[in-house]
Symmetry: C2
Subunit: 321 residues, 2 copies
């Protein structure tokens, strides 16, 4: 099959949801435009931004860093070493190698040195690994960005991630979570920096194809702590719908975002009236704006001590850093 765009080279990437198939060069153009449109649509980034890209060593975050650099953004990488034996070392190597190839030096936070390596932190706090990991990562994303003068934090969540999260939120009608699900969480003015997801329009497959064709070397193994994650079930259900009805995933997530803005496809409807203040503010646990500061570390926090400091205390190596 020939590329549907240049009609010369052989198609390398089949995109049933876009009724298309592209050669590598035309796919790069397509992918870049999708990301640019995703950024433009909600004004996620401006050329003056200093962007902190959270890189895990996986395909999504490295592709995000790569494309932001290609698009000319001032983008630095932040790698958080989770302290998971083997997996973390291999991930760090991929991040370092990629950074070097672009003449970059990533910022590294080592959770062992911070006293909260995920396996021990989860065990001692008796919390689920993924929940602990989320708390710790959100904490350092914001702390590093705020302390080093970044105007925005960018993460590599793609369309599959966001649509699966949306499906899970709808299955349980988690109104609070639904209210906060958006590619843009604006800064709050009291210390929480803006958070954006520039890859929200592109699928996992498209991101993987982009990484592969661009020769980006990434960690392919899943995190060993995240076995049997619920989000995988939602992804599986959506894959089933996507396979039978290509484009479902994108229409589902975009339709949700449009509904939030009160411009659904059916203007008559008054059924789903979303909050009119626009995207909710980001915050601890990705919640609404924080109102005070943590007594221990000074980070924005709803509670007297922030979730991270409470975790650190539980892990038993707490106190001042």
């Amino acid at each position: 099959m020939k590329c549907k765009r240049c009609r010369k080279a052989a198609a390398a990437v089949d995109l049933p949801s876009h009724h298309s198939a592209f050669c590598p060069e035309c796919f790069f153009v397509f992918f870049r435009r999708q990301v640019e449109e995703g950024i433009r649509k909600f004004s996620l980034l401006s050329p003056r931004d200093r962007v902190l890209v959270c890189v895990s060593g996986g395909k999504d975050s490295l592709v995000l860093w790569d494309i932001l650099l290609d698009l000319g953004y001032d983008a630095e990488g932040l790698y958080i070493d989770l302290g998971i034996e083997g997996y973390s070392d291999r991930s760090r190597e991929k991040v370092m190698a990629y950074a070097k190839s672009r003449g970059k030096e990533p910022i590294v936070v080592d959770l062992r040195r911070e006293g909260v390596p995920i396996p021990e932190a989860a065990k001692r706090s008796r919390k689920e690994e993924c929940a602990v990991c989320g708390t710790v990562k959100r904490y350092f994303f914001n702390r590093v960005a705020a302390s080093r003068g970044f105007s925005v934090v960018a993460t590599g969540h793609n369309l599959d991630d966001e649509s699966a999260r949306l499906l899970g939120n709808l299955m349980h009608w988690h109104r609070d979570h639904l209210a906060r699900q958006h590619p843009l969480l604006p800064e709050t003015g009291d210390g929480l920096v803006r958070k954006v997801k520039p890859l929200w329009r592109v699928s996992e497959m498209e991101t993987a194809a982009y990484g592969f064709l661009k020769g980006i070397d990434y960690v392919t193994e899943e995190c060993p702590m995240s076995f049997d994650a619920t989000s995988l079930v939602y992804k599986e259900a959506l894959s089933l719908l996507e396979e039978k009805m290509p484009g479902t995933r994108f229409n589902f997530y975009q339709g949700f975002l449009q509904s939030r803005e009160g411009r659904g496809t059916e203007s008559k409807g008054t059924f789903l009236n979303f909050s009119e203040e626009g995207p909710a503010a980001g915050g601890e646990e990705e919640s609404g704006g924080a109102q005070a500061k943590c007594a221990l570390c000074g980070a924005p926090s709803y509670t007297e001590t922030c979730a991270f400091c409470r975790l650190k205390e539980k892990v038993g190596k707490g106190g001042r850093r």
Copy 2:
């Protein structure tokens, strides 16, 4: 395994979504209570109602008629013969046999005699069979109920049907459809009778088990016109989620109904503000209340002639009945 209720008889029906398993007698009690609760929750029926039960010959509608009779409701059956060779004859036989076993005589509408057998009506109107069938059935449900003094029309839609419909509506963010999805569509005062779905709390499997254990003989074949129906894909996706997380289907649909009433599980949320006028009024195409009468047949209709009369005209055997 023993029955979880009487702890004596062997369990015959396993219900992971209720963390339970029942012997036939206890399952009857459980199932009946579920239906009673479904009716009570939204005041679907009162003891003074004259109920017109739409029976197709399939398990759901015959089980509905059966349980409404057992619960003491004044319930008569309406069978619409769709004019589909073989399938319609076999369906009619099941309806007749069941009715006889309860000393009942169903009302029968024969679409061949009405000039709109579904296969020809679909072909001549160049519309999809299921769409034509829906228009025609809604028309006769309402016409028979109104002309024969029934206060309410009941259909056999179960939890699987309603949750699949909800998923489809959410996937496409059909706000109008979402606004009208409810087990209760009240009467409109201008000729549209109340429509209710008393089986909304029970799953397809539970309904099938009830029918089987009660010895109700029903048509098991699918309608030959409805191959590859999209709703089956949504059912499949939900089955996948239900299998991994028992109870998902019920929580999903019930959570939606609660959200509509502004009593979601998380009271803080202001994200999903549903219309406050309660369940939307039923109507042509299950839409909001009709405002005028069809010039040809006098049925409630938004448009000068109703959808049914327009269809009949297209089929070319139109005019007065």
